[in-house]
């Protein structure tokens, strides 16, 4: 039974279409990952789910409550941890949690107890009474997470919660997210870190250019690729014609499938090799017959990056790099201001 349902969601910011008919369903008590490169539409989706912005079209419900029509009711169900931690520098961490408790109408007795529990859970005892302006990135993220959890939400929504964090803070957050999921909370986590989603998520969607390009459990998505992922190069920097020729050779070998030319990686060739069929010796023979030498050959278990690569023809890192110069972060920041 789906606890969160998103159907045909679209959102455009002046000239950029951030979401293009995105749909997904999230069962209750799931740690759900939203994976995609920067600019894929993750933050827009998260902000819509957090009731901060309205979609242009589409339907969303949480626990069968229409999010657009009953946003106040939805806000009682959700906790939100934003990508950019916004704290009041002048307040201490404890004052901020106290302030946040009042905004969620938590009564006085429960408030103190709840704040203490979270301080212990997130190991904030040593610095909670210092002003927020003195906190490191990890401390800020932890206090922000505590603020999102004060009212014991049914759904916790986190937008890239471990970006730029030290290992200690990241591990504390990861452990807390697992504990929350084990306690029955539905956790939505957006990230562009593959290992984070791979290790934490029960289910995930991969987004690219505002669309879902793959969804399932991490194991399902990786198993769909079949065998091992092979990356082949016949020289350090190849060219299109040469790589096309190699693709022809590879496609004639039984047991090789899903061949992709990765332009960003010097026209390297990626493909899946069937585990049952011993394809590598055949490959070497065929390449030698066509006068090609192997410059490099890497074999790995399929990862979520391979799933992304399979769907888009580029790795997540390459997608990040290609988006880096195109985004106007200042403009996006202005657009997201109320």
């Amino acid at each position: 039974m789906s606890y969160i349902k998103v159907k045909e969601l679209s959102k455009t910011y002046s000239d950029i279409q951030a979401l293009k008919g995105l749909s997904m369903e999230i069962p209750a008590g799931t740690l759900f990952g939203i994976l995609g490169p920067n600019g894929a539409g993750k933050s827009t989706l998260i902000k819509i789910l957090a009731t901060l912005i309205e979609p242009d079209s589409g339907e969303i419900s949480i626990n069968n409550i229409n999010l657009i029509k009953n946003s106040r009711q939805i806000r009682e169900l959700i906790g939100y941890v934003a990508q950019d931690v916004a704290l009041d520098k002048i307040l201490t961490g404890r004052e901020l949690l106290d302030f946040q408790s009042d905004l969620y109408h938590i009564n006085k007795n429960k408030k103190t107890e709840r704040i203490e529990t979270l301080i212990n859970q997130l190991e904030m005892n040593d610095w909670i009474d210092r002003k927020c302006g003195t906190y490191s990135g990890g401390m800020k993220r932890r206090i922000d997470l505590a603020a999102g959890l004060l009212h014991l939400p049914k759904v916790l929504i986190l937008d890239e919660p471990t970006v730029g964090l030290d290992i200690e803070s990241r591990n504390i957050i990861w452990q807390l997210l697992k504990d929350l999921r084990n306690d029955g909370m539905t956790v939505l986590l957006s990230s562009h870190y593959l290992d984070e989603i791979d290790k934490l998520a029960d289910r995930l969607i991969i987004i690219d250019h505002g669309r879902v390009i793959a969804q399932g459990t991490p194991a399902q998505l990786k198993n769909k690729l079949g065998g091992d992922r092979i990356t082949l190069k016949v020289r350090e920097f190849s060219n299109h014609a040469e790589s096309e020729k190699i693709c022809e050779i590879l496609s004639s070998i039984d047991g090789i499938s899903q061949i992709i030319i990765n332009k960003a990686q010097g026209y390297s060739i990626n493909f899946v090799a069937d585990k049952e069929k011993d394809v590598l010796p055949k490959l070497k023979v065929e390449l030698a017959f066509s006068k090609f030498e192997i410059f490099s050959l890497a074999q790995s278990q399929p990862s979520l990056d391979d799933v992304y690569l399979q769907a888009t023809g580029k790795t997540l890192l390459d997608a990040e790099i290609s988006m880096a110069g195109k985004r106007d972060l200042k403009k996006e920041s202005k657009q997201s201001m109320r």
């Binding site: 106040r72 916004a86 307040l91 946040q100 905004l103 109408h105 201001m337």
Partner: protein
């Protein structure tokens, strides 16, 4: 009924929390409060001294220039404070803290606006009282109880009027630089184009018209009259080019301006906050 009772309590709880946050900020960074008090006091000393040797009867209805100036500076202090009231909201918008408020299940997002009104009203009162005490110590008088009522009623109306405009600007303008620039441009010209520093009879015709249409003047004149000790709402407070206005008329105009500004900003606040 029970639900409504809870809603009222929740509205109180969230408004109190938001106001408390602003006062914690003020306590830890009191420079704005101190500057808001020091500046008019320095003006009171300097301008008072500047015209201390002015001939008797130089100003109508008052003994000294300091006596005349007091009302103007009280209003100017409240006006400056209220004009700056949009800044904390602008910073919350820019740094994303406003999103923290908007994600919370607030009973009414009006609490965000209400907290700004409460904060700036209390702050303006504190600053005005200090200036009134300093004026008294300098021998520029003290209004009677009835007069005090007029002073504070007028200040509340002015603060509501200006705060609503400032909050509106905090949502319309793209950033704090633009808001500060606008405050910088508007602040002193509005003071000089009012009766804070000189009566209308001293001004050229065009400036007299400007001053007699300036909302600050409608606040200054009732307060100035309140200092005369013969406070009567029907007393003529302002000799404007378009006719004489009583204290009651000045306060009424201020009241209507406040109501109109609140009506005008309501759709914008609804759009931005809902």
């Amino acid at each position: 009924m029970e639900l409504k009772k809870y809603n009222l309590f929740f509205l109180y709880q969230e408004t109190f929390a938001l106001t408390k946050r602003l006062f914690i900020q003020l306590k830890r960074r009191p420079s704005t409060l101190l500057a808001g008090i020091l500046q008019p006091i320095i003006w009171l000393f300097l301008f008072g001294a500047l015209f201390s040797k002015a001939p008797e009867g130089f100003l109508p209805g008052v003994d000294s220039y300091g006596n005349f100036l007091g009302a103007g500076l009280i209003v100017f202090t409240a006006f400056s404070g209220a004009l700056n009231s949009g800044l904390p909201l602008m910073f919350d918008r820019e740094f994303g803290f406003l999103n923290r408020l908007l994600v919370a299940p607030l009973t009414s997002r009006l609490s965000i606006v209400l907290s700004a009104f409460f904060y700036i009203t209390i702050l303006s009162f504190l600053q005005s009282i200090v200036i009134m005490i300093v004026s008294y110590v300098l021998g520029y008088g003290w209004p009677n109880l009835y007069g005090l009522g007029i002073v504070f009623t007028t200040l509340i109306l002015l603060v509501l009027f200006v705060t609503s405009i400032s909050l509106c600007l905090a949502f319309i303008l793209p950033g704090h630089i633009e808001l500060i620039a606008l405050i910088f441009v508007v602040n002193l010209p509005l003071l000089f184009a009012s009766t804070a520093l000189a009566p209308i009879s001293f001004m050229p015709n065009w400036l007299g018209w400007l001053a007699s249409l300036n909302p600050l003047t409608f606040a200054i004149e009732p307060i100035r009259t309140a200092y005369t000790q013969t406070m009567d709402l029907e007393l003529v407070a302002l000799h404007a080019p378009y006719g004489d206005l009583t204290c009651k008329s000045c306060i009424s105009i201020l009241f209507y301006l406040t109501v109109i500004s609140l009506i005008i900003i309501r759709p914008l606040l609804n759009r931005k906050l809902n």
